[in-house]
């Protein structure tokens, strides 16, 4: 019997019981739809994050204390590492050490909220140089102005706040010149950032910037930095500059073995690669979890195929009596099972990608970002291929049962 005929025969058998066929493949449909959905969202997220991180600036690198984190415990030690101090920044700024450097600015993260009278706001409070924001990201105050290097040197108690923070604390009143409380200390508002939303890694609306020296002295009581942002003269100079920074800091910290470095340099390229690695791993993990549901779906198909074989015992007997070989019967039932699961796979791809498309539209409009839908070609092909495999694996047992039926017994079966 030719394969084409077998397919026709199988189609006839399946279409004579449409409702049950549809229910049988439901498990496969859901499993494949979930896989395709996850893969399409994962690919979309990667594009979004990559383009967002691209905003960090290709000429910018960040020097962090501690070891390059490779696991959760490494992240913890980074927070408490105290290896980057004012002396290091001074050394980096010397032209003889790092010739490609045009700016180096320390940064600290200050926990806590900002209050004004009875009003409270919860922005991200950074000990930083506000001017750097203008230099690197081209963002300048909407009202007032940035604090200056002189303010930083004098450890002035001044703050630049985001528009969201201003609204939280002052409503429609003018915030410039008012004193807000961060921790236990009063800071005078000198500038308000424009409401631009997300810029690079910062949500401008929810930001409060104070001089890093003030953050160290009044709020954190430490003499080291959480990180140092360094800008190169051009994106092309970044690799050479990273090399120079590494050599300078190693010499300053008397480190001979690179494995014992107490700092690391993060580049935009590095972050993008890291995030992509994490996202790919996450997508792969989710896909594997969902793949288990395909196995469950396969067991469902096997069950129904077994029922179907029993129901069609007489048919099998008759086919054998008129000349069907064991392998004809085996192939007929196997093709039925594969047909079921592949149909389920294709339906799953259609449903999964439609859901992915709709979710992309929804996420894009809710988050206000450009999130484009990516059809996961590889994932779709893979899912249909795996469905076929599931049909083969879980169809073989019922098909064997069918092919081994004794024609006499089968014909007698009522």
């Amino acid at each position: 019997m030719t394969t084409l005929l077998l397919i026709k025969t199988s189609l006839n058998a399946l279409s004579s019981n449409k409702g049950r066929s549809a229910l049988t493949i439901l498990g496969i449909v859901i499993g494949v739809a979930a896989i395709v959905l996850i893969m399409s969202l994962g690919a979309g997220a990667q594009t979004v994050i990559t383009s967002q991180l691209g905003g960090l600036g290709a000429d910018l690198v960040v020097v962090r204390p501690g070891r390059q984190p490779t696991g959760p415990s490494d992240f913890a030690q980074t927070l408490f590492a105290n290896s980057l101090k004012a002396r290091d920044v001074g050394l980096l700024k010397q032209k003889t050490n790092v010739p490609d450097l045009i700016a180096a600015v320390p940064a600290l993260v200050v926990p806590g909220s900002v209050t004004y009278g009875s009003y409270t706001s919860h922005p991200e409070v950074l000990g930083w140089s506000a001017q750097f924001m203008g230099d690197v990201f081209g963002v300048f105050p909407e009202q007032g102005e940035f604090f200056t290097q002189a303010d930083i040197d004098a450890k002035a108690s001044v703050v630049v706040i985001g528009s969201g923070v201003a609204e939280d604390l002052f409503g429609f009143n003018d915030p410039i010149g008012k004193n807000v409380k961060i921790g236990d200390r009063n800071f005078r508002v000198v500038g308000v950032l424009p409401s631009k939303g997300q810029v690079s890694l910062f949500d401008l609306n929810k930001l409060a910037i104070i001089p890093y020296t003030s953050a160290q002295t009044y709020l954190l009581g430490i003499d080291y930095y959480h990180e140092v942002m360094v800008r190169a003269s051009s994106p092309g100079a970044v690799p050479r500059m990273v090399e120079d920074i590494t050599l300078t800091l190693r010499a300053a910290h008397r480190i001979t073995d690179p494995a014992k470095d107490d700092f690391f340099v993060v580049t935009q390229q590095g972050i993008v690669e890291q995030v992509q690695t994490i996202l790919s791993a996450l997508t792969a993990f989710l896909t594997m979890v969902v793949a288990i549901s395909l196995v469950v779906g396969g067991i469902g198909v096997m069950n129904i195929m077994l029922v179907s074989v029993t129901e069609r015992t007489r048919e099998i007997g008759l086919r054998k009596a008129v000349g069907a070989t064991d392998s004809d019967i085996l192939r007929q039932f196997l093709i039925e099972a594969i047909f079921l699961t592949v149909a389920g796979g294709i339906a799953g791809v259609l449903i999964g990608s439609s859901l992915g498309f709709l979710l992309t539209l929804a996420l894009g409009s809710v988050l206000g970002i450009e999130w484009t839908f990516t059809f996961p070609y590889v994932g779709a092909l893979l899912a249909v291929g795996v469905s076929m495999l599931v049909g083969l694996v879980f169809g073989i047992y019922p098909a064997r049962q069918a092919s081994r039926k004794n024609p006499i017994e089968a014909l007698r079966y009522e």
Partner: protein, 236 residues
């Protein structure tokens, strides 16, 4: 040459440790073109004998030569091939597939044959015509009467132009009128040169044959030729 030649045929079934003998050594020959009835009370082993002769089962002991070839030597695949193109079966309960048309049912053996696909429809249509059901060609089995269903089954048995037609109680589920029609159709096949082996327990059915083999308790009780009676054939 003898079409069928069985020698000391034995068949027993094992159920757990109990062995039940069904056939205890049966020998006879059937020539091409004969119309033989196999008779006997239920439990006499006539169905088992028919299954062995029809390549649906194998004997426990003894030899079966089909057209000069030792049947025991065939693989299950070769047996399937013989069932397909040298044997036609007609069953008591018709065994038509539901939900497909008369024509498709008649075509079924062709699916497993070497006949090219473009000849199937014409061949099946001719077979349906031969049993006088051209007007029912596209009906489903459930829309037919019992007699019509059995005629469809006969058309299906004929489609590959077999050497021998085995009919296992073909009138068992029919009223006497349609039973007679079916028997006369089978008689016509015989008159057209087909070898027919009919299993029955009804004497009047058996007497369409020109030879009656009677079994009792798994042994051959009698084997007699009978005077050919003159039946008015349906398709004459």
């Amino acid at each position: 040459m003898d079409l069928i030649d069985v020698r000391r045929l034995q068949k027993s079934y094992e159920t757990g440790e109990v062995q039940t003998g069904v056939l205890h050594g049966i020998s006879f020959t059937i020539k091409k073109g004969e119309f033989v009835s196999i008779m006997g009370p239920s439990g006499s082993g006539k169905s088992t004998l028919l299954h062995i002769l029809g390549f649906l089962d194998r004997p426990t002991k003894g030899e079966y030569y089909f057209d000069g070839q030792q049947a025991g030597a065939y693989t299950s695949q070769e047996s399937a091939k013989i069932r397909n193109n040298r044997i036609g079966f007609v069953f008591q309960s018709f065994n038509l597939l539901p939900r497909i048309s008369v024509l498709e049912n008649v075509k079924l053996p062709l699916l497993y044959s070497d006949v090219p696909e473009n000849e199937w429809d014409a061949r099946a249509a001719r077979a349906v015509e031969e049993v006088g059901l051209s007007h029912r060609m596209h009906f489903q089995p459930s829309q037919l009467s019992g007699g019509e269903r059995q005629r469809v089954a006969i058309a299906r048995a004929l489609i590959n132009d077999p050497d021998v037609i085995f009919a296992d109680e073909p009138t068992g589920n029919l009223d006497s009128k349609s039973g007679t029609q079916v028997l006369e159709l089978i008689d016509d096949l015989h008159n057209n040169g087909h070898t027919v082996i009919l299993v029955t327990h009804e004497t009047y059915t058996a007497e369409y044959a020109d030879r009656v083999i009677t079994l009792k308790d798994g042994l051959l009780e009698s084997d007699r030729k009978i005077e050919r009676r003159n039946h008015g054939g349906l398709l004459k």
